[in-house]
Amino acid sequence: MESINDEKVRELKLKANEIRKWVIKMVYAAQSGHPGGSLSAADILAVLYFHELRVDPKNPYWPQRDRFVLSKGHASPAYYAALAMRGFFPEEELLKFRKVESFLQGHPSLMVPGVDMCTGSLGQGLSAGIGMALAGKMDSLDYRVYVLLGDGEIEEGNVWEAAMTAATRKLDNLVAIVDRNKIQLDDFTDRMVELDPLEEKWRGFGWRVISINGHDIVQIMRALNEARKTGGRPTVIIAHTVKGKGVSYMENTPVYHGKPPQSEEEYEKALKELEEVRRGI
């Protein structure tokens, strides 16, 4: 791994900021989509696509590539923005998100260059990641598999089936990241299903657990690096985040889970706030 230097951190902060701007532009252009959980995951995606993942946009299905599964498929705006910015397809396509003439489906589809697994029905991505991790071990390939889950998503039972199996199979080439933004579609997660003590739950299932601030670029980089050193166990990174991060009126507001800015004024305000963040980086 490259050493963590200030210039790299600054670059990744700028990438995360750019992803957030795309998220706002995309959901506003589409007049649909999920900004809240896209904004909370932007820093994680920036570190994955511009630092951690061994991928080659010119050869998107290279067998040795690291795999990434966006299990919380509704964060597709942030995912597609990261893929386009990384060079998997032209950025112009992003403004056609969710439109019939585009391959950018509402939720990740294999039509999209660089997407390793289609998702959208929550709770299934970790299973697919296990399949990829098992295949890597069978074929003696050293690629790693990363799965990004939502915290609401882990209410799905399939996730815990997968959690048990990943530990049983000692998949140390598998990293799960939980975007712990504490809000799901209808309400705050703790008012729907008590997820805490989340760290203890994963530990009890046999995983190595690393808890971080999911908006701190250095912490994300360190956690992903730390996950490489875990012999014989899968690692889960609990990334504590803020839903809607970077846009004041969306932060910690369940209603912006799946709703674009509601007016031209709201749209401009979001972009203006993000631009102010950029200037401060």
């Binding site: 067998p63 589809s109 294999l110 390793d116 697994m117 289609c118 998702t119 959208g120 029905s121 709770g123 299934q124 991505g125 970790l126 299973s127 697919a128 990641g129 296990i130 399949g131 990829m132 991790a133 098992l134 295949a135 890597g136 069978m138 074929d139 039972g157 399939n158 089936e161 997968a162 048990m164 199996t165």
Partner: protein
Amino acid sequence: MNWDYESPRKAYGETLVELGRERDDIVVMDADLSTSTKTAMFGAEFPERFFNVGLQEQNMMGIAAGLARSGKTVFASSFAVFATGRAYDQVRQSIAYPRLNVKIVATHGGITVGEDGASHQMIEDIGLMSGLPNMRVIVPVDSNEVRSVIRFVASEEGPFYVRLTRTALPNLTDGDFKFGKGAVMRDGLDMTIIATGIEVGYSLKAAELLKEKGIDVQVVNISTIKPIDKDIIVKSAQDTGLIMTVEDHNIYNGLGSRVAEVLSENYPVRMLRHGMRDIFGRSGRWDTLLSHYEMDEKGIAKVAENFYKGVKS
């Protein structure tokens, strides 16, 4: 057509072992039923390519998708009720939609599961799987055909659903399976019985009983439910003018419904769907259940005779 009884599950297990010896990319999964589905035979010889995930059908289908996405040809097995019902959304989202190379081979389809009762007797699976875009659905007629079907699906890219029964089946073919093609098993002029799976043998025996009543019955086997052989169905309708379907499945969304679609769009004739008439099954020995629901040779002959007389009189 030697009518020797052989277990289709054992034929499946044996064929998997042969394929495992021939090809490194074959991977087999199960969800704690491997001694029943016979995938354990593969597991014994290829433990490094066999993943028995325990009681996790949903997780199994998701892992199967991930393995397939990484270049493996994956066979995933369980009982029909769990493989298609319990894991339906995983099959839909993670296998059918991305058209991944997963072969779902389910055993214990239909009421002939027997004593375990309605909870385990899957009579909706053909409908569930046929309704999925990209999914192809095969019900082998006998154990010889199981061998060729398993080899066929292993050689074809993309998802398949193969439905097997728990009970032994008489060998009616020498295993010359042709994907998407039905087969005339017996010629006849008065009416046609179109059947699938275990019901083909019973329909042939019923045809003999009906012959004694003066009714000359053609019997057609449909092994590929999707895509269905339109030509053979239309030809039968043209030749005999009267069609009855028989299946160990609900009459809704199974073989009968597929045949009705073909006929109504192409060559409408009178028809009757026979099988489980939108009711759940019950416990009992598999053969007594077939008798109870008039799906053995006597029951089929009785239903067919009434249908024939009702239309012709």
